[in-house]
């Protein structure tokens, strides 16, 4: 719908109102009040209804995608102003129109839940500071860095988004202290720590390979062998020298089949004919597992987890 036709605003309908208009505010606030009423209404729900209520919400959300899948996708109208052929076509059009809206819902709800995560973080560290538990000083460091990043981050965004119609702040020579601080905290420290932590993996790979790649059993031996072949093929110098050797052999013997023994060829063959199918087999299994789990969650059959 509007996402595809970005320039043309959608026609007015029951569902929308002009931007920032008083009617829109009324509708929005009304909806929130209605939602809150539902919220408090639900606190009086009897115990035996609790599970069915949750299940209904889950089922309806899943139903959208299942129906979207089962109703034939409508063909795009050739020109504006076409009427749907029949109810199925109309439903198809409705589903594909509603898709971009529904697709946002999960992300928006998860975003609202983020507050809970931050609340967990704050409780733990404020409690540490209050009780002067071990390392409470570091908890203060955490809170201070959080507040700094939050403050400068928002100030920077507001300046760039709303106070800078000419786009001057795109150029770093026009930056104020706030922009610099935000950049320093994010780009100078946070991103660098990301990269540093990421690169630690290289050290761990070395020690893990050292411990694990032993000729103990068939399994660990094939694991090691295929890893070694791949690594050798990635060393350009080794691959080059190896290739030169094979070339000499081919010229010497006249047997072109030997070309297949070049390390890059061997590595590629290993990847396409052994790695790819092995992984595909795992993926099939995982896909079926996810499908089965999806059905159980959708129909409320899953115990223990969410709908119990």
């Amino acid at each position: 719908m509007i996402e595809l036709l970005a320039q043309a605003p959608p026609p007015p309908s029951f569902w929308n109102r002009p931007p920032y208009s008083p009617e829109l505010y009324v509708m929005v606030i009304g909806t929130i009040i209605l939602g809150l009423a539902l919220f408090f209404g639900l606190t009086y729900a009897p115990t035996r209804l609790k599970r069915p209520i949750v299940m209904t919400f889950t089922f309806l959300s899943g139903l959208f995608y299942v129906l979207l899948w089962l109703v034939p996708t409508p063909l795009k109208p050739k020109e504006p102003g076409e009427l749907p052929l029949n109810p199925v076509d109309a439903a198809g059009i409705w589903f594909s129109d509603a898709l971009p809206r529904v697709a946002d819902v999960a992300q928006i709800l998860s975003a609202f839940l983020l507050g809970l995560g931050i609340f967990s973080l704050l409780t733990i560290h404020i409690r540490k500071i209050n009780r002067k538990q071990t390392d409470w000083g570091f908890s203060i460091v955490l809170l201070v860095s959080m507040v700094l990043m939050l403050g400068f981050g928002y100030a920077d965004w507001i300046m760039k988004e709303f106070r800078d119609p000419l786009g001057l702040l795109q150029d770093s020579s026009n930056w104020t202290f706030v922009n610099q601080m935000s950049d320093l905290l994010f780009d100078g420290i946070l991103q660098q720590m990301d990269a540093a932590m990421f690169s630690l993996i290289a050290f761990y790979i070395l020690s893990a390979a050292y411990r694990a790649f032993r000729v103990r059993s068939v399994e660990s031996t094939v694991l090691m062998a295929s890893a070694l072949i791949l690594m050798l093929s990635l060393m350009g110098g080794v691959a080059y020298a190896w290739g030169q050797g094979i070339d000499a052999l081919v010229i010497g013997t006249g047997n072109e089949f030997l070309n297949n023994l070049k390390i890059t060829e061997v590595a590629n063959w290993l990847r396409t004919n052994m790695q790819a199918p092995a992984i595909r087999a795992i993926e099939f299994g995982v896909g079926l597992g996810a499908l089965a789990m999806g059905i159980r969650i959708w129909l409320g059959l899953e115990r223990g987890g969410v709908s119990a």
């Binding site: 719908m1 509007i2 043309a8 026609p11 309908s13 029951f14 979207l68 089962l70 034939p72 996708t73 063909l75 109208p77 504006p80 102003g81 076409e82 009427l83 749907p84 052929l85 439903a91 059009i93 409705w94 594909s96 129109d97 709800l109 809970l116 995560g117 931050i118 967990s120 973080l121 409780t123 733990i124 409690r127 946070l190 720590m193 990301d194 932590m197 990421f198 630690l200 993996i201 761990y204 790979i205 893990a208 890893a227 087999a281 795992i282 993926e283 299994g285 995982v286 079926l288 597992g289 499908l291 089965a292 789990m293 059905i295 159980r296 969650i297 059959l301 899953e302 115990r303 223990g304």
Partner: protein, 331 residues
């Protein structure tokens, strides 16, 4: 993008898989003790917790860094079993989350476990914590925690990415027993290299059925196996027909038009001179290929809808409007 792209075959196969799962769930409800093969990694759980108890050190669980989906829910289901055992031994637990929604579920489930075991007083809400939703900040935080608390047993089950090895090696450095499993195949080798027990691929989804032996889960697992057998059969069948068909000579070929999304069969007689001639069948000429990629002719895509008489052309877009109104009526 469904019917016209995949044709009815895709829908049928999917529905068949769904049916397999549902049939077996109902079948399992009636009978008891369906067979599940041994999964080594899961038998190790009790030993690991026992060892943590002896050493008086905590058990650490991480459900990966994915958002709230089946992987995270499944991880938490397994952790609920781990926590149950840990609660009986009164071993302290830590559960670190990287997603607020997952944290919410974990908090709820773990508290439930303590309640059901009648140990609500031992439950500490900070033992389930949200660490960070930024991948490497989470990695730094959790490895700091492993090193400081000297966790005796660690469970890394869920969607792990590059951070997998950071956790596994750190935990290895403090001498923890590790049970790990990721549905991300790209990370499994690192777990294999660094951990004591690894759940490979689908074993992860089988875990809760294996641990709880609940009829619904076991039945679903049997259904999945039926699905797997069906896929194996499909592959073998295709493998045979494909092999046979590639030996045949064809005088017609399929020509795809990616712009319109249509295709048609063109015979040698109709083909332009250098388009193609009689030749052996290629993969795209085989019956199997046509079943998987049904042909959409131009006629099929040529649907004529009637014009809306009330439609006002310039500023608005009628099809959209109708769609939205249909929404009002339908909902």
């Amino acid at each position: 993008m469904q019917y016209l792209d995949t044709g009815p075959f895709g829908i049928l196969v999917t529905l068949m898989m769904v049916a397999f799962v549902l049939i077996n769930i109902f079948r399992a409800k009636g009978s008891k003790g369906l067979y599940i093969r041994r999964i080594a990694g899961l038998n190790a759980i009790d030993d690991a917790i026992g060892r943590a108890t002896e050493m008086g050190r905590p058990v650490l669980m991480v459900p990966g860094i994915g958002g709230l989906d089946a992987v995270s829910v499944q991880a938490i289901n397994i952790f609920a079993q781990v926590t149950k055992t840990a609660a009986q031994f009164t071993t302290p637990i830590r559960l670190c989350c990287a997603d607020a929604a997952v944290y919410t579920v974990a908090q709820e489930v773990i508290r439930d476990v303590y309640q059901k075991e009648g140990m609500s007083d031992r439950y500490d809400s900070t033992s389930v914590q949200f660490v960070s939703d930024r991948q490497f900040a989470f990695a730094a935080g959790v490895s700091g925690m492993i090193l400081r608390d000297k966790a005796a047993a660690t469970f890394f089950l869920g969607a792990f990415f590059a951070e997998s090895l950071i956790f596994a090696e750190t935990a290895n450095a403090v001498g923890a027993i590790q049970v790990a499993g990721s549905t991300q195949t790209s990370q499994t080798p690192f777990f294999i290299a660094a951990c004591d027990y690894v759940l490979i691929g689908d074993e992860f989804y089988a875990a809760s059925a294996y641990l709880t032996r609940e009829p619904v889960l076991v039945g679903s697992l049997v259904g999945q196996d039926w699905g797997k057998l069906a896929i194996i059969c499909m592959i073998l069948l295709g493998f045979v027909t494909m092999s046979a068909e590639r030996l045949q000579i064809t005088n017609e070929a399929r020509v795809d038009d990616p712009d319109k999304g249509t295709s048609k069969i063109v015979s040698v007689a109709e083909a332009t001179k250098d388009q193609f001639r009689e030749r052996r069948k290629r993969a795209s000429d085989t019956v199997v290929h046509r079943i998987f990629n049904p042909i959409r002719t131009e006629e099929a895509l040529d649907i004529k809808r009637e014009k809306d008489p009330n439609f006002v052309p310039p500023a608005t877009n009628g099809a959209e409007g109708n769609g939205t109104e249909a929404a009002g009526g339908g909902a």
